[in-house]
């Protein structure tokens, strides 16, 4: 029962790729409409993610699995904020806006701030000059860490220039090759999907 969906993938993919190059206003209207539809389907894909989260925590609660009490926190918050947001809006000055500024923002930013500590610990324990390649990486990282911040020019006035050269020459060369590789890979995967060679996104039959 995959033939139909594969045909849909082929038609939508081929159409949107072709319409990209056709400047006629009718073609652009069709293109615009398809994009608007995708925008709506994308929103539902994100809603699906929240439903999956809901289901997994409900399962945890039903089974009284370890830490199920925390699932109550997740589910009640999810429900409350969704209802409040749909009812009262999400902008500044609304209840959800206030919750966003004082709950979501500090929690998300502090979670990521923990990484500063972890990266320092990791640098001390694992960043070792064991080979020529590792030494090159290590020296570049040190030069960048010192040369890009305010202390750099105080240590040596040449440091900012060195960091600029490292970014503009060896870094640019390597990143360009990576970008080209990623580009070729993305195009080949997209072609395989449109032509029905790659089908894993449809799941098992």
């Amino acid at each position: 029962m995959r033939r139909g969906p594969l045909l849909v993938t082929f038609l939508s993919g081929a159409a949107i790729a072709a319409l990209f190059f056709i400047p006629h206003y009718r073609a652009q209207e069709v293109n615009s409409k398809l994009l608007e539809w995708t925008l709506v389907v994308y929103a539902f894909a994100l809603i699906l993610g929240s439903i999956s989260l809901w289901n997994s925590h409900v399962r945890k609660m039903k089974k009284r699995a370890e830490g199920w009490g925390y699932s109550v926190v997740t589910l009640s918050t999810l429900l409350a904020i969704t209802i409040l947001g749909v009812w009262k809006g999400v902008g500044e000055g609304t209840p959800v806006g206030t919750i966003y500024d004082n709950v979501n923002s500090p929690l998300a930013s502090t979670m990521f701030a923990l990484l500063a500590f972890v990266i320092a610990s990791a640098a001390f324990r694992a960043f070792r000059a064991r080979s020529v390649e590792a030494t090159l990486l290590l020296i570049t990282a040190i030069v960048m860490m010192v040369g890009r911040v305010s202390i750099g020019p105080l240590i040596s006035p040449h440091l900012p220039g060195v960091t600029e050269w490292l970014l503009d020459v060896p870094n640019l060369a390597a990143k360009r090759a990576i970008a080209l590789g990623v580009g070729l890979g993305a195009v080949s995967i997209a072609l395989k999907i449109i032509l029905g060679i790659e089908r894993s996104y449809l799941g098992r039959s």
Binding site: V8, S12, F44, T77, I81, A113, L137
Partner: protein, 203 residues
């Protein structure tokens, strides 16, 4: 005032993980997941479904909107195992569109434009040395990523040079990553010291 205390309490709950895992951290973690998912749903409703689906349908009787709406509801069927077959149609449409979009996008911006820039004439003077180095680096890194032939002989030597270019690039990325992570911490400490404890002057 109370909001700042709530934000500070939650910040400290998360930082408490640095000592060891504890109930305060786990509470904050689960609260974050719930609030983020709830906010996401509310924003989808207010910013996408309301203006792009509900309003055209209710005011303009734009019935063509029913097509993406139907595809969207079919997508939700994936939440239940028996609905996988129904959701497949929506996923097929969605994946098809994004695949179609990817082809010209990557071709133009990441393949042709970068190849054109790599092949442009070198400037006069010492800048030509840098341009030559960029070209050598580009070709040797490509040689390293070319796995269809064994890395021996000239190809192997090129790939070896390519690794050195890659290591310098990764070193630069590592230095910048450290910078990014430290910046995140600075902002949280600024919040605690200025907005909560008031030991730093307000901007």
């Amino acid at each position: 005032m109370i909001e700042t205390w709530v934000a500070a309490f939650l910040t400290l709950c998360v930082f408490s993980f640095l000592y060891k895992d504890n109930p305060f951290y786990r509470f904050a973690e689960h609260l974050f997941v719930g609030s983020a998912a709830g906010y996401l749903l509310a924003v989808q409703w207010q910013n996408v479904l309301l203006p792009n689906v509900w309003t055209p349908l209710a005011r303009g009787r734009d019935l063509i909107v029913l097509i993406p709406l139907l595809l969207g509801f079919m997508m939700l069927a994936r939440a239940w195992s028996k609905g996988a077959g129904i959701a497949r149609w929506s996923i097929a449409f969605y994946v098809g569109i994004y695949s179609g979009v990817a082809i010209p996008g990557y071709m133009q911006a990441q393949i042709f434009a970068q190849l054109a820039d790599a092949a442009k004439p070198w400037p006069a003077g010492w800048a030509a040395v840098n341009s030559a180095l960029v070209l050598v680096g580009f070709l040797t890194v490509l040689a390293y990523f070319f796995f269809s032939a064994p890395h021996t002989g000239v190809h192997g030597a090129g790939a070896r040079v390519g690794i050195y270019f890659l290591m310098v690039a990764f070193g630069a990325s590592f230095g910048y990553t450290v910078m990014a992570r430290v910046s995140l911490l600075i902002a949280r400490v600024q919040f605690l010291l200025r907005d909560w404890l008031h030991v730093l002057p307000s901007p």
